[in-house]
Amino acid sequence: MSETLLIEARGVRKHFPVRTTSFGPAPLVRAVDGVDLGIRKGETLGLVGESGCGKSTLGRLFLRLLEPTSGEILHKGIDLTSLRRKELRVQRRDLQIIFQDPFGSLNPRKTVGAIIAEAYAIHGLGTRAERVRWVAQTLDLVSLPREAAQRYPHEFSGGQRQRIGIARALALKPEFIVCDEAVSALDVSVQSQIINLMQDLQQELGLTYLFISHNLAVVRHISTRIAVMYLGRIVELANADALFARPVHPYTRALLSAVPVSHPDLPRHRHILRGDVPSATAVPTGCRFAPRCAFAEPRCRETDPALATLDDGRAVACIRAADGTLPD
């Protein structure tokens, strides 16, 4: 695994105006509020956070499925945000996505074969015979029978539909795949099948994943590095093992401690977070986590901490962590 960055987000922001009936400036939902994140070739970058933190939005911004309000997305040096439609389409061959919902992510009125072959039709690749062959090969990759190409999505189970979604994502032989809660809607026993499949495919095809999930156990299992998001910002970025062994950012600590233990005999150390996540339309000034942070000091409300690299290589957005005054 090289250190070269395959795709990088720089200063990316996505603000949605909220449609209100009253006049005046609309309040902004700051879904993603200044993210710098580089993903290395061959790695699986896990992106975790709770609902409303902006992780799904960030995933889509990487693919420019949403237009960033500001910032750049660099793919092999090319800024996706500056491309016109035709050039972007060419880039899209390398950048794909797998969705969470195995039911809503497949067009119910198209056959499986048509769903996958559309990728080739869009880019004008191959003759009809070649496309049939490619579809069959892609179905092989995800361990689905070749006859599946003639059937409709509703004839398959949730796990199989997720495989179809993966096959579609693989059709154009991409290098980078965003997995947006790709296993969250599946039963546990099916989940493990899909996780194993995704790991195998990564090995075989040299894929790079951005794995978005709220399930920390799964993320830990599959990721090389993990980024923790809170209210539109990345608050910690570290190697998976390092993050779980020693979470630094107070939010990461609370998050990890909230995960149910995996065995009844294991002790629980809960950092119970009080209150709820503030609305993304009313982001607190200074450090956005300060109002709920057990270690907050007055200066935390004044400075908005940037993601700073610590000695052990991880990055944390916390002024107390940066100057070493954060207690363990």
Partner: protein, 267 residues
Amino acid sequence: MHNRSFVLGVSLVLFVALVAIFADVLAPYDPLRSNFRTRFVAPNAEHWFGTDHFGRDLLSRVIYGGRVSLTIGFFVVLVTGIAGTAIGAIAGYFRRLDNPLMRLMDALMAFPAILLAIVISAVLGASIVNVVIALSIATSPHTARIVRGSVLVVREMEYVEAGRALGASELRLLFGHVLINALAPLIVRLTYVFAIAILAEAVLSYIGVGPPPPTPTFGNIIAGERDFMETAPWTMIFPGLAIVISVLGLNLLGDGLRDVLDPRMKL
């Protein structure tokens, strides 16, 4: 298909359609031929529906009237279908055009449909073509709204986003993904439009802005015999029944289609 109303609806509609198509073969007499010796004959063995005030065979007139009325209905459905879908799809899919288009539709819908049709028909003159135009304008806005509604929902489905991720253009997404899945409510709406067209044509004819005689339509047969309601009631009853059967059949068909096309029932 154990949906009884659907089956009944299909049967009635098929029956009426077949009669209209094979009018030439089925009608015993020339609908336009008057015969003053056989005026106001009550229904008997030679004239199953009796005759009208010109001595014309009512059965033949009703059969040919069906052809005209159904043709009007068919073209109204065609025009409304195309126009309504186009407007609704564009309004639903392209946010910036949504407001201007739908406000225009709202303006048209502010007028009662019949009134609108009457005014347009009166302005353009009474003819089959103008009736089709008038009724299409009257029924398109609601059709557009229905299509827009479906498009709004389907547009947000993840498979549309997936298509975008593959590099599909917005037009390809609109036609290849969104519209295909938005069609069900449209089809149901169009069967009702057909029924509305038949009824509305009858109203227009009754008032005098429908297709002019002697060409028979369900509506203008009734309109023409209006003065003889008491003395020769059969002259209004039979065309009236024809309207009832056609509209009932279409309504049942529409209801049945709505259930059949409901994707939840399929799974």
